[in-house]
Amino acid sequence: MDSIRLLSISDILNISRPLTGAASLHPDSVCSPPSKRCKLDCPDEGPIESPLFPSDRNHNPGTLTLCDPVILIGTVDLLPCDSDRPLYCLNHCLSFSDGSSRVCCYVLDFDLNIIGRKIHVLAWNFLPFKHETGGILEVVRWSLLDLEAASGCDSLLSIRPVCSSQVADLKACCRVLGIVKSVSPIFCAPCRKEKEDSQKNTRGALVECVDAIGFLAEILTCGCHICRDSRFVTEHGCHLLKENNCHSFTNSELVYFIKPTSLWRPVLYRLIGKLVTVSRLKKKLVFVGGDSSYVMFVSTTFTMVSLGRLPVNVMPVASLVKSENSYNGVITGIYMQGMVIELDDKICVLTTDPVLALQHSLRLGAIVSVRNYHLVNAKYSWLNTFLLGTCLKTYISIKSFSTTSTRQGTLSQTTSLLENFIDSLTFSAKFWVLLLVSCFKKKFVGIFSHKDILGSKNKEGFVQTYASRFLPQSAFQVKPGFFMDFCKHGQCSHRRELNLSFLRLVIPISNLISWCEVKWILLLPKKHNDHEMLGRNQYLNHFFCRGTLSNTMIRRIISSDEVGFILMGTFKICQQSGTLQFADATGSLDVVVPDLPLDVDFQAVYEVKDFKLVMEGSPNQVDHIQNYFDGPLSWRAIFQQFSHKATVELTVYVHFYLKDSSRMDISSQLPSYMNKTDKFKCSNSETYHLLYVTHKFPVYQSLHDDVSLSNNSGLFAEALILPYNLVPCERVTNKDSKIAEVLLNNLDEKANWIAQLKDTINGLSKQIQVSTSIQLSGPVNVPSKDVCYNQGDSRVLLQFGSDSFNKHQLLRVGSYYLLKCSKRVLDYASKDCGDRILGKPIVISKSNFWSLSLTFGEYLREPSGGDDSSHDERINEFSSNEDCRPEERSLRFFDRTHELSDVYLHISTDEMDLSQQYLNSLFPALDEIINVSSCIQKMIAEVPSGIINMLTSELPQGNQVTLCGNIENIFIYDCRPKCSVSSGCAKACKHWSICKVCIYVNDDHHKVRICGSLCRYACPVGLGPGANATFHKVLLTRISSRQNELVLTPMSFIVVNTVKEIDSQCNYRGLIQESRWNIHNDELLNTISLGFISKMMQCMDSNLIRLNCRVVGITMLVMENQMHDSAELRSGRLIKIQAPSIRVAGFLIDDGSSLCSCWADYDRAETLIRLHESTKKTFFRSHDISKVLRSSSSQHTVGYYLRKLLKKHQRVIIRDHGAAFDLSCENLAFSFDSDEVFSNVEERLLRFIILNACHSSTFNVVGNMVNSNALFSDNLEFFEYDQALQSMPHLWVKEVGHVDPIREARNIWNDLCRG
């Protein structure tokens, strides 16, 4: 055995690093004391050199383990009276000194014997304090020095030597024998003694009107007659309980250990649960607060504490205290300066007073035991957890020290208002506030100072103000002070916890994004993880797209009511994507705010309670579930720094109305807040143009790459200058000409709790009059002198400086704006203001442009907060009802009815007719927005002026159209710079600037394709399947000699109007049909003239015939579960989809003139069978189909169920030999390829499919006559069997579509007219 080195405390302090050492690695080994002092003890020696430490210093950067056996020898004692240690040290720490220095000490196996004795410290940890000298010695194992052990002194705690007991105060004759139940912290209470008593008791410790420093101990005593009789003893009482079976430690006695015995608190605390005798006490009646009085024992300078022992036949002490609850666990986290201690990763200890919990050894990794806690169920809508609430009587003891070197920070000695506030709350409210504090600190670090957020001793912080708004009065509890709290414990202070589930989480944005990812994975039904469903790699090389298709995008919309979050942050425009974002210090999130005014304050903090969270992504990307379930909403993620790492490619954005959000009062923190330069202010010398924005050109260059774009930003918009100028009222002399007024911007009105705001915008509140060109029509007598009138067509180009990027991004096509004329003095006589320079862009700077709302007619109400009707409308717009079908959840992105503007202009009834009439006369100047059907007509009717030659760099030529429709799918290919775009939404990929896209847009029945390049800046949030969008200025051109095409150009601008939730089933349907719904096929369905079945026999076989007919029966149906490979045969490329594949289907169709047998395959057959129509029929809900076919949703297409069935049976053939006789669908025969059982449920499904097909509407069918023999050369037996069928004409279907009634009616009308 190596010789054991002896270390002194000063040596350890010199090292000033966390250390751990032991005399031996074997816990049971008996170590002999060192024969001589280590040379390190010699003052003339240098500091400890490397031999003490492991050779590899970097082995453990945490605690440094001493490699040699070491020992410490010193005396464990109470901290001295004159110690400068803070209060929490006095509460918890013993001291260890070896003559060289003194440090705080914590002993694991505490024994009263140790106090005042010299010990060998055989195993220990040492942690120096962070910001002060000294440290904490954690004594793991110890032994008394041989000499001390031999002395055999009783373990006793006393101020004076025991021998001086003869001079003891005769009044101090009481003794308490019992089990220590709880010990309060040391506290200071103002104390007043009765005068006469004071005079008599000259030696008493209490002085009149002084602050008494001390602590209370609750001791459970036995009420049996033996113990009761032995309560008063003058000398050393017998410490042994007499042999008796009737001991019952149930009487609670309070002992007030008053200075100087207040220093015993660390010892008493460690004696909790042990039997002690406290003798030489005085019994006193203590009045508290004037109305309560307690009889308690008060310590004197003669008081002694000694251990008692139980007789053999008395129950062990531990079980004597039955009411105690205890929790043992490992500390896995300490947050908020020790106010929250996480145990075992699953439960939090919430401390009432940080002083209580701030034991040095309560460190990460320590094993602790918590006794006497309050179990609280903190239930919020976003978190449901249990807390161990502590109070003055809670006992936290350390069972094992931590092996890590983590240390707690020191607590500030001053208590801030926030701490008092937190302390006054019930447990669950307190926990919420602590989470809130953490969230605010994370969200606003770097934006506001620490002091602003948390407040100070005299000033309330931002958090406290905010929290107070939410907490009900019942969340506060009256804290009576230490004394009363301890005495009255259980009676009032810790009442039943309230239901505070309404408290929401002000979530940091990084946590929110991460939460969305977790939610996304949980939301995805398992079916999407089936690789058989739609593997993304299967779609490569789809017609001319060279890339990945966005075929399986899913969009989910979640209401804020469902999540229990509040968003808080500032608006910003993302330089990379050009999107509007909501940001805090932890991250940013795209937002859609339909009513956002142009002058939104980008520095103000907004609070959004009512919002919708939209998640878009592909289910196929989620093929591995990671450690998601240590959720981003766990207290750990909120208390600690949480770094979000994107694990799934998910697009998340938030939709809300600014009307429903509040602007936070933080003006004091941000002085520049009020100094807005771009706020609309009236000035007598100014005149304002009225603009109507007709088009916005998307940004087509990367702004963040080139910062030198100050004057040539490439940000343009096209506008009409209206023949109205706004003139401040003072300048209009004729009072009668007042026809409009500018109302307060309601946004500012709404933030009514910002009192000082109103003062600064006085400029806005004064009424402004507008002079209009009403004399244009003659009758109104306005002196022409006062009118500023702009001439007719004044289409101008607006150019935004790069400092006005925000304004450009927020600009809305079809909205009115005010532009300040730069010319100071206007010439009224002039017909032109001089600003309008046609052909040259007007440069819009930050401070001369505002949005304007025009209202006509009766003045109803101010367009401010109290717009109830619009609010109701908005509620209807989105229903969070769980029964709501996914397709019905939709959001409006562009909402003129709720739009907030910088300036409101109301034109009264008198002038309305003329003004509105005139304004309306300007509207045709805008591009007409056409729907898909009209677009197709246009494409067929119009021959564009040019043909795009893709190989040359010539500008494409053609006609511009503005098209509105539902996006069915987006195909993304050829992104630049190269990156993989694998998600359903282009926005999900972070690193592209321009990509080529192919967008399919439909209305109810028709579909067109829009191709071209899309810049990242032009790609609006929400663009994807399930969105309704307006495509401004799309070029209708001709890409080949016979095909017209819609092409996106750099001018084209896309506005998303609405988005709705989509399930992947919708995409699935779209994909199957897509080959059919292109222009070519539509042309086929629309150009061939309508015929009759009865006249079909006269047609040549090769001629196409078109019929408006309905399915009346199905004669044969052959369905297979196979790779669907017909979708793009026409283009020569292959697209493979695992899907129900209808190899062939025979129908009986009826057009009113006759019946015929018609044959179709694949997608044409699917349309005739109505496979892709989502079914609302109760059929699927009322039976077990969903269950049997393992479907989680009741809303699926018929094809979806069929696919499940085919997965089981592989191939199904249905025949109806009686169809041609009676059209009854009764004699169905089913055959299968599999040996699986064909259940009734499955038969019902197939029967439903057949019957559903026969209950369809009218189809527009194009086909040609076929010879029945040729048709059934492989399957003649079937055909021969059905004689009735043989006599019918047979049609092979080339194309199927829905009938456009009005178009068809016109055609027939024309035919009839022609005779």
């Binding site: 309905r1110 009113g1152 059929f1179 209950h1255 009616a1305």
Partner: protein, 153 residues
């Protein structure tokens, strides 16, 4: 073979109501000499009566009102696992006053009046479907149903 015997003949209500009973026993009807048994009309539901066993409703197509009866207790349906009965119930639910419906079914006679025993009902969303039906009826009558000029029964 009479080519329109099995066909759902598209007729206006006024035309349908004036069909001649060809054979009272077999409930076959004729229009201008041609035997027909099935019919298709499009019009607005102007009244309906729902009973346990049937739904009776009147369809007005602007030329007249024709009574339609949808049986909800389809006996042979037992062998088809009740699918047809369920579809009938589903369709009965869709029939509401004011809806534009396309009704197909067999022509029957009830209390001396022609009525349609409904085979299926389709609720049309586009109001132009009614105009198309009118024109379709005229077109079909002209080209298919009406006997050629000079034909004498």
């Amino acid at each position: 073979m009479d080519s329109i015997r099995m066909v759902h003949v598209k007729l206006l209500a006024i035309d349908a109501l004036s069909l001649t009973v060809h054979d009272n026993h077999s409930q076959s009807f004729s229009r201008k000499g041609k035997l027909i048994s099935r019919i298709e009309v499009v019009g607005v539901v102007v009244s309906y009566e729902r009973k346990d066993k049937y739904l009776s409703f009147l369809v007005d197509d602007g030329t007249g009102c024709i009574r339609c009866i949808l049986w909800l207790n389809n006996q042979p349906d037992q062998f088809r696992l009740g699918v047809a009965a369920e579809m009938a119930l589903e369709e009965a639910k869709a029939v509401q006053l004011g809806k534009l419906v396309r009704v197909r079914g067999k022509i029957t006679m009830y209390k001396g009046m022609v009525q349609i025993t409904v085979g299926d009902i389709f609720v049309e969303r586009d109001p132009n479907a009614e105009i198309l039906h009118w024109l379709d009826c005229i077109r079909l009558a002209k080209h298919c149903y009406d006997p050629p000029a000079g034909y004498l029964p």
